[in-house]
């Protein structure tokens, strides 16, 4: 589905990604873990085309997409849920979804309402008035409305109460069972290990570990060194 080959990327003078390679098989969930500033968000933004890579290749189903603008990448079936959610706060919930919706999308607004009943009740409200958890649901629903095959999720659990994190995890599990491929950026190790088929650890712009969730669970040394997890 997705492959990154030796991707270098950054902003202005600063080089953030120093040769990232990773692979995500069709219908799988890969988690990208690492500390703040390790390059997780930049990786996702580079895939989406928001930050153009300086070297290396991004391939979607074998086709190079690096260098394309975000709108083209979105049309090729990639959707993005950004870290700060970035919902359109002056639009209503319905408008947030309707501007994203495409006719051929498997996730119609009606289906999204079933999946997120909480949003269904808030359709006429301005998105800016929603709680953090509701905004996260909306950001996910908005991404799904474009009918993607690959979803880039940047820290969906960040800043949410534990009960809401569970709801978000449930919705991600539901999307996976619907056949969606997902690249999940997380700081929350438990959330990532729950959902991911494979795990990548990133540190200072380099991939320092790749393997299964089970392997990482047993490697307390890696957890301590790259995630700051107390053992």
């Amino acid at each position: 589905m997705l492959r990154l080959d030796d991707v270098h990327s950054g902003y202005g003078q600063s080089q953030v990604l120093k040769g990232i390679s990773l692979e995500l098989a069709d219908g799988q969930v890969a988690a990208l873990l690492g500390r703040n500033g390790a390059g997780k968000s930049t990786t996702v933004k580079t895939i989406m085309g928001l930050v153009p890579p300086r070297r290396g290749a991004v391939l979607l189903e074998g086709r190079r997409i690096d260098g394309l603008p975000p709108s083209r990448i979105s049309r090729l079936g990639v959707a993005y849920v950004p870290e700060q959610r970035r919902i359109f706060s002056y639009l209503t919930v319905r408008e947030n979804l309707s501007i994203a919706e495409r006719p051929q999308s498997a996730w119609s607004v009606a289906r999204l309402c079933e999946m997120f009943p909480r949003l269904a009740a808030l359709m006429r409200q301005r998105a800016g008035t929603l709680s953090g958890g509701e905004q996260q649901m909306l950001a996910i629903a908005r991404a799904l409305a474009t009918g993607p095959r690959l979803l880039l999720l940047d820290e969906p659990s960040q800043g949410l109460a534990p009960s809401i994190v569970d709801a978000v995890v449930d919705s991600i599990a539901e999307m996976r069972s619907g056949g969606l491929s997902i690249l999940l950026v997380e700081q929350n190790l438990e959330v990532a290990l729950d959902l991911a088929d494979s795990v990548y650890l990133i540190d200072q712009g380099n991939i320092v570990f790749s393997g299964s969730g089970r392997e990482l669970r047993m490697r307390a040394d890696l957890q301590a060194r790259y995630l700051g997890v107390e053992t």
């Binding site: 975000p70 709108s71 993005y80 950004p82 359109f88 002056y90 309707s98 501007i99 908005r142």
Partner: protein
């Protein structure tokens, strides 16, 4: 005294409607596209001259009010596509330099095509006469101007607030990158918005000719005032631009009754006052 005040209030409304149209256009361009369009007044002047020519050649004033803004809008599409879009990455300084240059080009083109003398146009015959306000006659044409301005603003507002395309434009004001991530070609969207923005300035120009005539440099003052109105109303806020435009127009007209020297300064004083109390403007969203 009361009739004079009423007439000045109405004149303020006329002036305010012109400002509101121009500023509504500029708030789209400056607020959403982040293009400091210093040529806004030049597009207004072009709208005035084109309307004059269309009315003269076709004999239809109605046609002039439709065709002139459309022509200005189409020119705007071209200017955005061929010049401003390419300068976007270079930053504000280059866009300012370009739009200031465009002012000179448009003004000199007007001088070449229509001459440097001012244009004076009679109010169309079917608008002859006016409403009696006390001892003063308030021309029908000015009422018509206010009505056309109000209807246009209402139509654009409805399109922005009630249609999917309008929602995309509002989303683009808030976060253009995110709009792009939803698969929407933001460059094309911006081009349309730029065209719409300058078309509104063109309509304002077309409407004002029978009242004030036309001069090649008639837009210079309007550009400054439009920026003031946009700042007072709040960057990117359509309602703010309209309210701000009407407010500035009425204030200016009433000032000329009470203390004429302050009618120009008052506008900037109002901006300073608004910025002190509400730095984001009356209806500002950022």
């Amino acid at each position: 005294m009361w009739s004079l005040l009423t007439v000045q209030l109405l004149n303020g409304l006329v002036l305010g409607m012109i400002y509101a149209l121009a500023a509504a256009g500029l708030t789209l361009i400056f607020g959403m596209l982040d293009i400091p369009n210093f040529a806004h007044g030049a597009f207004y002047a072009l709208g005035a001259y084109l309307a004059y020519t269309v009315a003269e050649k076709s004999g239809s004033v109605a046609l002039a009010f439709v065709l002139a803004p459309i022509a200005v809008g189409v020119l705007g599409l071209a200017v955005d596509t061929f010049f401003l879009r390419r300068l976007a990455r270079a930053g504000h300084v280059y866009q300012i330099l370009f739009t200031l240059g465009a002012v000179l080009v448009i003004q000199e083109t007007i001088v070449l095509l229509w001459g440097a003398d001012s244009l004076s146009v009679d109010v169309p015959s079917y608008f002859a006469g006016g409403v009696e306000v006390g001892l003063v006659l308030f021309p029908y044409y000015r009422l018509f101007l206010v009505a056309v301005g109000a209807l246009t603003i209402a139509a654009v507002w409805l399109a922005l607030e009630r249609t999917r395309y309008g929602a995309i434009i509002r989303a683009g004001i808030e976060d253009p990158d995110m709009v792009s991530c939803l698969g929407i070609d933001v460059a094309r969207l911006f081009m349309v918005v730029f065209g719409l923005g300058v078309a509104l300035a063109g309509l304002a120009g077309a409407l004002i000719v029978p009242v004030r005539g036309g001069q090649p440099a008639m837009g210079t003052q309007l550009t400054g005032l439009s920026f003031v109105v946009v700042v007072i109303g709040g960057m990117g806020s359509f309602a703010g631009a309209v309210a701000g435009g009407l407010l500035v127009g009425v204030t200016q007209a009433l000032m000329t009754v009470f203390y004429p020297p302050a009618s120009q300064v008052g506008v900037f004083a109002a901006m300073a006052a608004v910025l002190l109390v509400r730095p984001q403007g009356l209806f500002g969203i950022r």
